[in-house]
């Protein structure tokens, strides 16, 4: 890898010299596949990982290829809209300040770009769960006319004509082929490594560095556990379910949520419960980015929900009204707690940056 943060040096690097390499040592110009595995640690406060690494072992060259692809405009029709256009690292890989994603030729997508973090722990992807495997997720934005507007075959043609990719695919994969499967695997290797697990909260729960929470953060955590964590569960802060949280329907978009995937009427207006990690930087909020601030979000849960026909039972009060009752101090303290989920090590990790 070209970039080595201090953290990278800790990562165990096993160099496997294959017989193949041995043979080719005499020919100086030949580029050969050498697997240099990357180690992947599951943080101790996280649930088990979902991504099956045995089908796509992490290697230095594969990760580096994925990073290059992530930042390369060639994946889009006008060669100018890379994945990173809507997924900026400084904002936990979201599209800073934009309600909806922008794409090629001024196209505007239908949903707010979600953060990319802890992807290895997720069962499925997108607000509606349309992608059931991380390797398949990039196909959706890449082929969307409103986002990257490309075809897989055309992207592969562009990559084949590029000397960097001719070399890097050979280094990254045993078969060395520049094809869709290897491109998607490389992107997955890059995204699998994106783990955000070193926020103040993480260090607190893992009893590291003598980190403690302030009184208001502690109060916020307690309220959060009582009133929010049934959906924003585990230290991923999502139970990965799909729920209708009582947002008014935007007639311009008329986004039916998970219903679009399976056309099951029970899925109307359901969206994936989002993680809350780095939420201080992932505004605006909700699937359509309608709320600019965390205060607005909590005001919404307290008093702004509407009955759109299918609101989640957990969001109903005993008297049948909709919402989660929150006092002003509860809102203030929840926000103080949520800011302990900011992971500056992740947001500034040079392994994931473009340059």
């Amino acid at each position: 890898m070209g970039k080595k943060s201090s953290k990278m040096k800790k990562i165990l690097i096993i160099v496997v010299f294959s017989q193949f390499l041995f043979l080719s040592c005499s020919k100086e110009d030949t580029i050969v596949y050498v697997a240099k595995p990357l180690n992947f640690d599951v943080p101790s406060n996280f649930p088990d990982m979902v991504y099956n690494l045995s089908n796509n072992p992490l290697t230095e060259a594969g990760f580096e290829l994925g990073r290059k692809l992530f930042y390369d405009g060639k994946l889009s029709a006008n060669n100018a809209i890379p994945c990173a256009f809507c997924h900026e690292q400084a904002f936990a890989f979201t599209h800073h300040g934009h309600t909806l994603s922008h794409g090629v030729n001024g196209g505007i997508g239908l949903r707010n770009a979600q953060p990319l973090q802890n992807m290895a722990f997720q069962k499925d992807f997108m607000w509606d769960g349309a992608a059931s495997h991380l390797d398949l997720q990039p196909i959706i934005p890449l082929t969307s006319e409103l986002e990257m507007g490309e075809t897989l075959s055309n992207v592969i043609e562009k990559l084949k004509a590029d000397s960097y990719y001719q070399k890097q695919f050979t280094l990254a994969f045993e078969d060395g082929e520049i094809n869709t499967s290897n491109m998607l695997k490389a992107l997955s290797q890059f995204m699998v490594m994106m783990v955000s697990s070193n926020s103040k909260y993480d260090k607190y729960v893992r009893h590291e560095d003598n980190v403690s929470l302030t009184q208001i953060e502690q109060d916020g955590l307690t309220t959060f556990q009582n009133k929010c964590s049934s959906c924003h569960a585990t230290d991923l802060f999502s139970d990965q379910s799909y729920r209708n949280n009582g947002l008014s329907i935007n007639p311009r978009l008329n986004d039916k949520g998970r219903f679009v995937v399976l056309e099951n009427p029970e899925d109307l207006y359901k969206f994936k419960v989002p993680s809350l990690r780095n939420i201080e930087f992932t505004f605006p909020y909700m699937h359509d980015g309608r709320f600019d601030t965390l205060e607005t979000v909590l005001d919404f849960y307290d008093s702004g929900m509407v009955d759109n026909g299918n609101v989640d039972a957990s969001l109903k009060r005993a008297d049948g009204s909709l919402g989660i009752t929150l006092s002003d101090y509860e809102k203030e303290s929840i926000i103080a707690f949520l800011k302990t989920l900011t992971d500056n090590e992740f947001l500034n990790d040079t392994r994931f940056s473009e340059f």
Partner: protein, 263 residues
């Protein structure tokens, strides 16, 4: 050898000097395009048709129509020169219903003089001078305004805004709401102007096409310089000399330039 080095050093100095001097860039006769992007919101929320928004006094409202007229757009550059867009075409209807997926409405200004602009001024509504040109001299705008429901009988004039929908309070539910403020002929002038400083320079060139992103917080129409109660005559605002100037002053205060994109 030494002479060559000296010449190179001299050349470098000249190029550094000329690079750092903006005055050398001759923009005479050069024009470009300037986009204005209007984005309506309610406080910290995006505006969505049919969604209920709360006022400061416990009343709430939902809108089905949201549009207003912008005119007399002009921009001032860093040297103090004012560029005024040609009057005949300098009037626009900002209609939320014509927005893109994200509810953004664009005005494209062509043939703007190339310059580094630092300030924008525009009117809200129609000034008396334009109104007094008479119905015959409004160009295509009269038909456009009529089509958009932004015109009373000519003698009365234009509606500067249309907020149509319903409002609710502790005592009423979904009562009709219609804010149709405008001037009233020549007897009541509700035209207002607003000047906004750009947070970063809009660099118009033949090859550079900046976009000024203007956010409009429509909650300030009701909770602006003056907070108004729907229950006290502000659910139907048309030609009253009492209520329309209050709404006009509030409307003037809804705009802010969020940022400028230099493309």
């Amino acid at each position: 050898m030494t002479i060559t080095k000296l010449a190179l050093a001299l050349l470098l100095c000249i190029s550094i000097i000329s690079c750092s001097s903006d005055d050398k860039e001759d923009l005479t006769g050069q024009t470009g395009t300037l986009d204005l992007k209007f984005d309506n919101g309610v406080g910290d929320q995006d505006f969505i048709f049919g969604t209920s928004y709360n006022k400061s006094n416990g009343e709430s409202y939902k809108l089905t129509t949201l549009k207003y007229i912008i005119s007399n757009v002009r921009v001032k550059d860093s040297k103090g020169n004012m560029f005024i867009y040609p009057t005949a075409n300098n009037v626009f209807i900002i209609d939320e219903a014509n927005g893109n997926n994200a509810g953004e409405i664009f005005i494209t200004l062509n043939n703007v003089f190339a310059a580094d602009y630092t300030e924008i001024t525009f009117g809200i509504g129609i000034d008396q001078e334009r109104f007094l040109l008479g119905a015959e001299d409004q160009g295509d705008f009269l038909a456009e305004a009529e089509e958009a429901g932004m015109l009373w009988a000519w003698a009365t004039g234009y509606r500067f805004m249309r907020f149509d929908g319903t409002y609710s309070s502790s005592s009423v539910t979904d009562e009709a709401l219609a804010i149709h403020m405008g001037s009233v002929g020549t007897s009541l002038d509700n035209y207002r102007e607003v000047t906004l400083t750009l947070p970063n320079t809009a660099r118009v060139r033949e090859t550079a096409h900046p976009e000024i992103h203007i956010k409009a917080d429509i909650s300030k129409v009701f909770d602006g310089a003056t907070s108004v109660n729907f229950a006290d005559g502000y659910s139907q605002v048309h030609t009253s000399s009492e209520t329309t100037p209050v709404i006009a002053d509030n409307l003037k205060g809804i705009f802010e330039v969020h940022h400028v994109h230099n493309n």
